[in-house]
């Protein structure tokens, strides 16, 4: 594949922004979590794109493995966050029978 790496980066940026937009717009906690997952994926894509970029540039001696390693960690962390997040959702639902973030305004100035 000869796609230049910056196209990958731009794609990652687009995905990140879509995720962020979703984060701002959606009220449903579960959907917001999904949007965060999109953002994490975008980050992962950037890591990989960067890794590819460094690995394939002239004069590189081998693969740049920090990116993929980080990506693996990110996947794990994403799983952890999803688990905790969803547990929180359950606790929240028990509390108030809703999963809307707009309901979370008891604490404010």
């Amino acid at each position: 594949m000869n796609v230049p790496s910056e196209h990958l980066l731009v794609l990652a940026a687009i995905l990140f922004s879509i995720g962020a937009a979703g984060f701002f717009l959606r009220r449903n906690v579960i959907v917001v979590l999904m949007c965060v997952e999109i953002m994490l994926n975008a980050a992962n894509l950037s890591f990989l794109a960067a890794s590819r970029m460094h690995a394939l540039k002239a004069g590189a001696t081998g693969p740049s493995l920090e990116g993929p390693t980080f990506a693996i960690f990110v996947i794990v962390v994403a799983a952890i966050e999803a688990a905790v997040g969803l547990a929180l959702v359950i606790a929240l639902y028990r509390n108030r029978q809703t999963v809307s973030l707009d309901a979370l305004t008891d604490l404010k100035d």
Partner: protein, 481 residues
């Protein structure tokens, strides 16, 4: 497994360097063990404290002597990180001791609570030692994830769950920003390790790296809670169980600063102005908003925001070229140490009062406190003065050191503005003192007058530390480099 790798990893040096983290991690494992085996749960406090003690001891081993760079420079143990580790241990201890007998319904989950707290502490240690974005990220998550759960720990309560949820959602967002930033840094420089990045100095000026640095900085700002990344802080601090709030106030901030310091070296010099502006805005917003608070936890939350801004000023100064290398780090460490004991003590006493009365502690509710609890009132007053930076307390010298960084870096106008804004802070600190000492006791539902031994002792220790740091800082200043 590759023998070379094993050799490399299990060297004495590595163990020495990662000692504090290992001690805490081991503590977590042991706690889980203790929790699962029926008859051992009495050992829980022992394990917990032993783990902390071991971590502290391990940290003292690296306090002097040369810096230990391990794992291909992704992790370091030097004097500063060791001090940070000691501070983290202290923070954990403060939060834990003041949290004794705080929980009622959730008391049966005390084991889980301790596990999560210790995990978070281990995350802090990792963050302070990290010199690699990946390591730091994992440390950050190791800190954050348990905290998300801890915030919502009183899960039957609306405010607790709300706090946990808010912290989690925003924390996840910040984590995503961090990752994107790290990825861009990596794209720009081809590495995740700070020392290597610094070695490739010119690449730091590449657009990708700059954008990445901005995003990284933003996510760190979220953790240290500076304007406008601070908005979650009051809500979460108020809603979270008070022991957790205590830990967050003094722990999280310290961890983020511990990494921000080496991280700041990667930032372009011209960002000093931006950072200084953010710092000043933070001081302003924190103090101004605190001025109109009535809930003590919220008030202290905003005060903490202002303090974060003050410390950020030192970083701005460092970036702008403080001729005294290492002074910013020392200043922030000292400031944070003072803040740990001061805010730790203050939050801790609030925790204690809340536990005793079962109600949120407000300025109204502590009116005339000195009649019933003179010791508590006196200690709280001392903490307030220290937070305000009055001499003879650690807060003063911290302020002195931080502002001297700014002054040396020729940011005098910023320093003047900053210090004038911190005059505002005394407005609300004094309100607390006024309520306790100068107003009549509140009618009905008074604070019980009997004291609890452990929190009282801890408060005494905090107060003593505040005074020692304020009056006899010599030893500390000489040993923290």
């Amino acid at each position: 497994m590759n023998q070379a790798i094993v050799d490399r990893i299990l060297s004495a040096q590595t163990l020495l360097a990662t000692g504090p983290f290992l001690a805490l991690a081991l503590g977590v494992l042991l706690l889980v063990l203790v929790e699962t085996i029926p008859f051992l749960d009495r050992l829980r406090p022992v394990v917990f404290l032993a783990s902390l003690a071991a971590a502290a001891w391990a940290a003292t081993r690296t306090m002097t002597g040369p810096a230990l760079w391990v794992f291909e420079d992704t992790y370091v143990a030097n004097s500063t990180t060791s001090w940070w580790s000691v501070l983290f241990v202290a923070s954990t201890l403060i939060a834990w001791i003041f949290g004794k007998r705080y929980y009622r319904e959730e008391a049966r989950f005390q084991g889980e609570h301790d596990i999560l707290l210790l995990t978070a502490a281990s995350g802090l240690v990792l963050m302070a030692g990290a010199r690699d974005l990946l390591v730091f990220f994992v440390g950050l998550e190791t800190l954050s994830v348990p905290l998300y759960a801890l915030c919502a720990f009183r899960r039957a309560r609306r405010d607790s769950v709300e706090a946990g949820m808010k912290y989690f959602v925003l924390g996840a967002f910040a984590a995503a920003i961090f990752l994107m930033g790290a990825a861009l840094m990596y794209a720009g420089t081809g590495t995740l390790t700070l020392s290597t990045m610094q070695a490739r100095g010119e690449l730091l000026e590449s657009p990708l790296a700059l954008a990445g640095a901005a995003l990284l900085l933003a996510s760190l700002f979220f953790k240290i809670s500076v304007f406008p990344f601070h908005l979650w802080v009051p809500d979460v601090y108020q809603g979270a169980p008070s022991p957790v709030t205590t830990f967050m106030a003094i722990g999280t901030k310290a961890g983020a600063f511990a990494f921000l310091l080496p991280m700041a070296l990667l930032l372009p010099t011209r960002s000093a102005g931006l950072i200084a502006a953010i710092a000043l805005l933070t001081i302003a917003v924190g103090n101004l908003a605190a001025l109109v608070q009535t809930d003590l936890k919220r008030l202290l939350a905003y005060s903490g925001i202002a303090h974060a801004g003050t410390m950020l000023l030192a970083i701005a100064g460092d970036l702008n070229g403080d001729p005294q290398t290492g002074a910013a780090s020392q200043a922030i460490l000292f400031y944070m140490a003072a803040y740990t004991f001061t805010a730790g003590g203050a939050f801790g006493l609030v925790t204690m009062l809340e536990a005793q009365t079962g109600r949120p502690v407000t300025i109204e509710s502590i009116r005339g406190l000195q009649w019933r609890r003179p010791g508590v009132a006196a200690a709280l007053a001392l903490f307030m003065l220290s937070l305000g930076g009055i001499p003879a307390t650690g807060g003063f010298l911290g302020k002195y050191l931080v502002f001297s960084v700014a002054v040396r870096a020729e940011m005098v106008p910023a320093a003047v503005i900053g210090i004038l804004l911190s005059v505002v802070a005394l407005g609300y600190y004094l309100r607390v003192v006024v309520a306790m000492f100068m107003q009549p006791e509140v009618e009905g539902r008074p604070v019980p007058s009997e004291s609890r031994v452990l929190p009282a002792a801890m408060a005494l220790v905090c107060a003593a530390m505040v005074l020692v740091l304020g009056v006899l800082p010599g030893w500390f200043l000489e040993n923290v480099r």
